[in-house]
Each structure stands twice: as structure tokens, then as C-alpha cells.
């Protein structure tokens, strides 16, 4: 078993909501990265979670930056550290809105330029910081404050966009599998160039489930096949253990959907569409892993 360092870089004084899975992720990410790390945070839940000036819950340098600017700011940091001959890790920790929507241009630019950094998107499938408005990452049928009747379009496939940039390392992760995340961050930081990790981060107030079910919700996402854990290293895809099992014997999609208030009002037709999309995604990934693509 990989030893998780005892040192804490996210201290026990955050202003996160009860059951916040993204702060759990941040705890493991910073443990994996260690103290020679700068975290770049655009506007997102983490802007709030880290605490209010002059206090902070973070024990590594954090550079807060404007919503659209995280990847570009990280480029500047990364190149400056290179100019200074320093090996400091530069990690962007951004929400889905700051990644798939307003920040995607900067993200694309930084990946195309080959910036040496790790971009982590923690995806709670809406603008959580401002009270759950829809983002491009909100799934079909989900109710948000700006899609009160459920989102009529599907979730933007961020991973295929990032994949198109052919980064040396990209992975998915889920807050319910912190050890898997820890290992992926470690591996990502051992590779030069632009790296990407996309974390599904269930959100109790946003998804409308009770706080103590936050791990269960992440596990259900993986076990139903809604969220597939994999990593792609220099183009070679590996589907990770929990998802391998889920693909062989998936839990019913309804188990994931019915536990979340945001999916209230999803019609059988929508559920069928979700199932087909999920299956298409799994098929694509399995074929890629088998080398049939």
C-alpha cells in the first residue's frame, strides 16, 4: 500500500460545506504533491473553502486568480520557475465551470504550448460556489437554479477535448477513491509537460443528497458506470480496477439517479438516453484499451 504522508497541507479550519468531497480531494492532492508546490485557484468553491484573509486553511502557497485565467497564470508560474531553475510543482485546482466553460481557452492554450503543470478539474457538475447554476458539465436532466426544469442538453465531454491535445498524462478520478487519486497525482507530477486529472466530486447541497452519503454517491457513480476511472499515459489507456468491475457487472443506473434530488423529474426517455450515453462512453474506452479504435 502506498504510504500517505502524515503531513497536512489543508488544515482543519476550512469553510467547506458538510460532506464536501472536493476538499477531501484537495487534502489528498496536496499530500501527494508535498510542500514544494504552488496551487493556482480560479474562482470556484476552493476560493471560499481556503478561508478568508488574513486566515487560511492552506499550508502551501495558493495563488488565487480570475475565473478564466488559471491555466495561463500557471503557465507564467511554470515558466518562471524554469527561469529560476526551480522544480516547484504548479497545480491548477479548478472547478468545472472554470474548466469546461470560461477557462477552456486558457486550458487549451496551456496544453498546446506544452506547459509543465498539472491541471486538476474537480467536477461537481455546476457552479457550486454561487449556488448551483448550470455549467457545461451539468448532466442531462439535472435541475440547477438556472435549469429549474432539468438541463435539456448533455454534459460536455471535457476529457475528449483534453485528449485531443495529446497530453503525456491524463486521468479521471473520483472523491470516493482517494488512494487512486493520490497515486494518480504522484504519477502525474513525475512526468514533464501538461498533465490533467478530472475528478468527479459529488456535492451534497448541489446534488441534493444528505452529507453523510457523499462517499456512497461517488462509489455509485463509478459502480453504475456513469463515471469511469481510467488513466492515459503517453496515449496508452488503462481502465482502473473499480471501473473494470463495474463494466463487467454494473449496478443499476437508477441507484445513482434516485438518490439525488437534482434528478427529480428525469423522464424514462431521458434515463434511457443517459444509459445509452454511458454505454457509448464505456464501449469507446474499452475498445481503446483493447487497441480497437
Amino acid at each position: 500500500m502506498t504510504a500517505i504522508p502524515k503531513e497536512e497541507y489543508l488544515l482543519k479550519c476550512t469553510s467547506a460545506c458538510a460532506g464536501c468531497s472536493s476538499s477531501l480531494c484537495l487534502r489528498y492532492i496536496t499530500k501527494a504533491a508535498g510542500p514544494d508546490t504552488v496551487l493556482v485557484v480560479p474562482a470556484c468553491c476552493t476560493s471560499v473553502i481556503q478561508g478568508m484573509y488574513p486566515n487560511t486553511a492552506m499550508d502551501i502557497p495558493v495563488y488565487n486568480i480570475a475565473f478564466a485565467a488559471a491555466a495561463a497564470c500557471a503557465s507564467g508560474l511554470s515558466n518562471a520557475f524554469r527561469a529560476l531553475r526551480r522544480e516547484t510543482n504548479v497545480i491548477v485546482y479548478a472547478g468545472d465551470g472554470g474548466t469546461v466553460d470560461i477557462g477552456i481557452q486558457a486550458l487549451s492554450g496551456a496544453f498546446e504550448r506544452g506547459t509543465d503543470f498539472l491541471y486538476i478539474c474537480y467536477d461537481n457538475e455546476a457552479y457550486g460556489n454561487t449556488g448551483m447554476q448550470r455549467s457545461g458539465a451539468t448532466p442531462l436532466g439535472a435541475r440547477t437554479t438556472t435549469t429549474p426544469g432539468g438541463k435539456p442538453t448533455t454534459k460536455k465531454d471535457l476529457d475528449r477535448i483534453v485528449e485531443a491535445h495529446d497530453p503525456p498524462y491524463m486521468a479521471t478520478a473520483c472523491s470516493a477513491y482517494p488512494l487512486d487519486l493520490f497515486k494518480k497525482v504522484k504519477k502525474a507530477l513525475s512526468i514533464r509537460g501538461p498533465k490533467f486529472i478530472h475528478i468527479l466530486a459529488p456535492c451534497p447541497p448541489g446534488w441534493r443528497y444528505s452529507a453523510e452519503k457523499t462517499i456512497e454517491m461517488g462509489k455509485l457513480a463509478v459502480k453504475t458506470g456513469t463515471w469511469v476511472l481510467y488513466e492515459r499515459e503517453y496515449g496508452n489507456l488503462t481502465i482502473n480496477g473499480p471501473s473494470k468491475a463495474a463494466i463487467r457487472k454494473p449496478a443499476p443506473l437508477e441507484d445513482y439517479i434516485k438518490g439525488q434530488g437534482r434528478f427529480k423529474g428525469v423522464t424514462p426517455a431521458m434515463l434511457e438516453q443517459m444509459r445509452q450515453q454511458m454505454q457509448a462512453n464505456i464501449t469507446r474506452l474499452v475498445r481503446e484499451e483493447e487497441g480497437i479504435c
Partner: protein, 370 residues
Amino acid sequence: MLTIATGNKAVAAAVKAAKPGVIAAYPITPQTEIVEQIAEYVTAGALASEYIPVESEHSAMAACIGASAAGVRTFTATSSHGLLYMHEMVHWAAGARLPIVMANVNRALGPGWNVWAEHTDAFSQRDTGWLQVFVSTVQEAYDATLMAFRIAEHENVLLPVMVNLDGFTLSHITQSLEAFDPGDFIPPVRIPHAIDVENPCVYGPLTGPADYFRFRWDIERSMRDSVGVIADVEREFAERFGRSYGPTEDYRCEDAEVVVVAMGTLGKEAEVAVDLLRQEGVAAGSMRLRWFRPFPKLDLAGRDVVVIDRDYSFGFGGVVAHSIRSTTGAEPYSVIAGLGGQEVTHEDIAGFVKTRQSGKEFWFGVNDRV
């Protein structure tokens, strides 16, 4: 080295002399030659900077912010729509107290598409907390860019500086240039609040009204301190390199009954107008306004003032005319001229002086001549 160069190449040469750690820039007419020249310096090994070819101006400034926060000297260049596109980060750079230097090649704003000189782009960034200087010759573009690093990085300033040069009229004109090694005039950069992993800090977190207010006051206090820093740096520059600069460049003002205030290349053209007027017996002088932020205190008491604005604040008036009115009490004859690269000759400027009407506004080429 004595040579000839365009305004753009002079800026690039000054950047090479200042040796930034990181340069991040996106090309735009008429600034393009600056980034091309810098890319060439870096490729040829003449400049050991990290050059980040960003995908937008917003990212250019964001990258400069990241790099400067890491503690290295940074530079970018833009123009017009590029400056407006990075506007959010222009505010951020000043708020984060980062001594970034940016060349802005002044250009009009669309629509319609217009690539020629106008100052509205720079003035749209007036309240961001950036220092702004306007230059009028190729040599001054070089000298001011070098000095910008010294001023921005001064411990009592730590604010970004924008060096403005007129699109095409100055960016593309060829004049003589003395490029030189500034030596210890440009010492290694030291940013006291640079990121230090040994002493981890959070930058720009949620901040309540009381602290936020204090940070804003700190910006203004540094802006006020910058007046003295600018004067010191310009004095040292004059002593070491022989060219003196100030908040304004005054020409035949001592006994002038009427003073023309203009910026950039129009400020130089105004000097020629003054000579014309003097030949005709009009006691004219000119004041070329160099520093726009911090805005200098001008001594215009007892004289008529003609202000040429290459800009306009719609629903209000010429930005420079109103700035002068509010800071000096003068009632200038406000001439709006040169927008979108409109041709304005020294004869035209002499005409403005001869037909001046204090307190009135005149749109050159639009209003009938009085």
C-alpha cells in the same frame, strides 16, 4: 550602439537590455513587430527569457501575473482590442502589486476596424492602478521602457507600468536609436512578496471590506510615492545616459501666453506649431504630457490653454482636457483630433491656437472652423 530603429524595435531592444525572466505576449497590429523581434532575440539566444506564446491577451497578462508572482521580471506588449481583452487581468496585476511592464501601441477601437493611432485604448485602463507614460520618439520609447522596469520594481512602487506609443506614427517610423547596456541601472528584480514555498502564503483570497479598503489605499499611497520615484529614476537616467525626461516636456513655455497640451507624437508636432506661431508673433508654447498616471500637477496659471485630445469620453468630453480643468482650474480650449489616425499637421495645430475659445470644445474635421 547608434543605429536606426522603429518605435517597436526600440521597445524590443529595451526589453532585451532589461532581460526579463518571462515574456508572454499575443500579436496584434501594430504591436506585432515587438513580439516578432523578441521571439527572434530569444530564438537566436540573444535574450535568455522564457517566451510564452499565449493564445490571447487575457492569458498574456495572466501568465505575466503568474510569472511575476514567482519573482521574475516580466514583460508583455499589446494594443487596442488586445488591451481591452486583457482588461480584467490589467486590474488584477495592479491589485496583486506586480511590477509588470507592458508596451501598449496606441490604436483605435472598433467598430469599424481601424488600426491607426488613438489614445482611447490606454485611457480605458485609467483606473486600474497602472502607471502610464506616453512617449514621442523612438529613443524615448527605448529609454522609457528601460526606466519602466526600474520604476515598477521600486520597493515603494511595486505597481505595473504601461509604456504607450502611437500606432504606426511612432511604432513604424524609423529614427535614430542609441541602444546601450544599462548595467546596474537595471539591478536584478526583487519582489518582496514573491511566492516562497518555505514561507507559504495565500494570495488574493476572499477579503473583507476593511482589509480590501486598506489594500486600495496602499495602491494609491504607492501611486503617490511613485511621483518621487519617477523623478529620481529620470534624474539618475539623465546623469548616467544624458537624456532628461519629466512629467511633461515643455517647449518655449517660459514666456508663453498660450500653451498647447498634447500627448505622444502630436506633442512633438505641437512644438513645430509653436515655432510657426512664434514666427507669426504669437507667444505660444507647448507641454507634452508624458505621465498620465500618476497625473502630474501642471503650472498653467495665467495662460490660455489648448488641449488636444486623441481620445474621447462619450457624454463627458476630452479626457486630458477635463483632467487639466479639474487639476489646474484652467478653462482649456478642448480640441478633439487625431481619432482613428486622423492626420493632424503642425499647421492644423497652429490653427487651433489662433482660433481658440476658452472653455469650448472643437472636433477637428467635424465642427466648422470658428
